[in-house]
Amino acid sequence: MSARYYWGLHLGLIALLFAGHFVLPAYQHGNVARIMVLAVYAMGYNIAFGYTGLLSLGHAMFFGAGMYGMGLLSYHFDAGALPAMAAGIVAGAMLSLVVGLLALRTAGVSFMIVTLMFSQALAMTLVYFRDITRGDEGFVIPSATRRLWGMDLSDEAHRYLIAWGLFSIVLIFTLWLVRHRWGRVFVALRENEERASLLGYDAFRTKLGALVISGTISALSGAAYALLFGYAGATFAGVQYSIFPLLWVLLGGAGTVLGPFVGALFMFYLIDLSSGVTDAYMLIAGVALVLLTLFLPQGLVGEVKRRLWRDLP
């Protein structure tokens, strides 16, 4: 199927979510705003894991770098929304560059553990310097920061639109990236690194590029989360927030542009529904991880791609 169809599909989703702003009831409206921000995180993760085959267990450090880079500038220096966001994004980009330079010397299982360890070190560091970060409690983003172009971001409607804007930009960027030759080299590295090297592609530099793009988008999501929902806390840099994007991407379909959103949407509602019933809502996440690896390794969109629409990006 030609490019026209999948551009139609992806732009259609963006239009649908825009329409959602006007028709969704208040509670769902808030949920979808949150899901769109988290889907940005998942899309960032997917560039490393889904397209390049870099299975990181430590992406929460990038999400956390964005959140704290943004939050601390706002909390301690009363920065405006845009400089604070920029600080978060730059923090994530720098961190992913440094982590990439080190961690990408390893591969496979070692890479998973190294990223997990780096992420743990950051999470513990955030707790350790409690004078600056307020430790485990975290802190509320001052309302002075939460204004953008005259909009009050604690207002539900503004929040949804900003989330929608970010989501749309990242979705279109991903769609462009994976069809660009860089994205195609990412896939080549995922499929067969040695072959790609012998076609003249520098595996280390390409993977580093993928990880920095992935980390930067994750940081963007973390910064936006703090900005829109007004809180930064160490939990967001913990292991659980490294597992979540893996779960969303696996559920939706690794290496598909729509997969991260679909996965985040389903998992959010699954956990939302079950947390009404029990405190042990993470049980759902555990069961989902096991069932997905066993029975649906391609994920939902991946399955569509495999059966119906082979060249879906």
Binding site: R184, N192, S197, L198, G200
Partner: protein
């Protein structure tokens, strides 16, 4: 006649075992050179060092007058060397078109039209034009070998190293392969590791024989065919290649 590739004293040992020992090798431009030798003679080790998959223990490699001994594989490919794998190593989940496009893209960059044209041409030359949309992993073994060669062609290399390209090909495919390589001679230099003696005899301008990691003989196919030393080497190891 200028030399495109040169090695001096090239050696590689694996935990004390000498796989390749002090090989001096000169390859002139626009020639087809065959590299033969019994199993375990060090052929694949030798070409792996040429392309940069393996670092040599000692010695040097010069490509077009430039010392490339310390360059990593991707850089050597960037200079115009290409390598096709002995054990088929295509991107199994991608289509044939995408496989060859990856080979062409590094040189042609983001020019989609040029890449597409290059891919079509390379696939046509190996006879896989009608398979462009097929997933590489679903192809027969012989077709995967041809795809591998197409990926080599699409790089438009100045030196093409083919590691046992005809292994697993049918007779008719081998005939096509011979025609293809002859046509390529005008464009590039070819180093061919080959077991099939009819391919060697028909295609090669000169033949280099490796045995126990050292150059045993070098000459025209006829000279090599007549050489007692070569026959002894093959018979001595009792491999079936000698009968070809």
């Amino acid at each position: 006649m200028s030399v495109i590739l040169q090695t001096r004293g090239l050696s590689r040992s694996f935990s004390g075992l000498r796989a390749v020992h002090e090989v001096d090798f000169d390859l002139p431009q626009h020639k087809i050179r065959a590299l033969i030798g019994p199993n375990g003679a060090g052929k694949t080790t030798f070409v792996s060092m040429l392309i940069g998959r393996l670092p040599p223990s000692s010695g040097s490699i010069t490509f077009e007058g430039r010392d490339v001994t310390a360059l990593p594989a991707p850089k050597r490919v960037g200079l115009g060397m290409a390598y096709t794998f002995q054990i088929t190593s295509v991107f199994g989940k991608l289509t044939c078109h995408e496989n060859v496009a990856l080979a062409a893209m590094r040189r042609l960059g983001g020019d989609t039209a040029a890449v597409d044209a290059e891919v079509r041409e390379a696939l046509t030359r190996v006879g896989l034009a009608d398979r462009a949309a097929d997933v590489a992993g679903d192809l027969s073994y012989g077709h995967q070998r041809l795809l591998e060669i197409a990926m080599g062609l699409a790089q438009r290399p100045r030196l093409l190293i083919l590691d046992e390209p005809t292994q697993g090909l049918a007779e008719s495919e081998i005939a096509d392969f011979k025609a293809l390589i002859r046509a390529l001679k005008a464009e590039t230099t070819i180093l061919l590791i080959e077991h099939n003696m009819s391919v060697v005899m028909e295609l090669a301008d000169r033949v280099t024989v490796l045995n126990f990691g050292e150059v045993l003989a070098e000459g025209t196919p006829e000279e090599i065919h007549a050489s007692r030393a070569v026959q002894a080497a093959y018979l001595g190891t009792g491999t079936e290649e000698a009968s070809c």
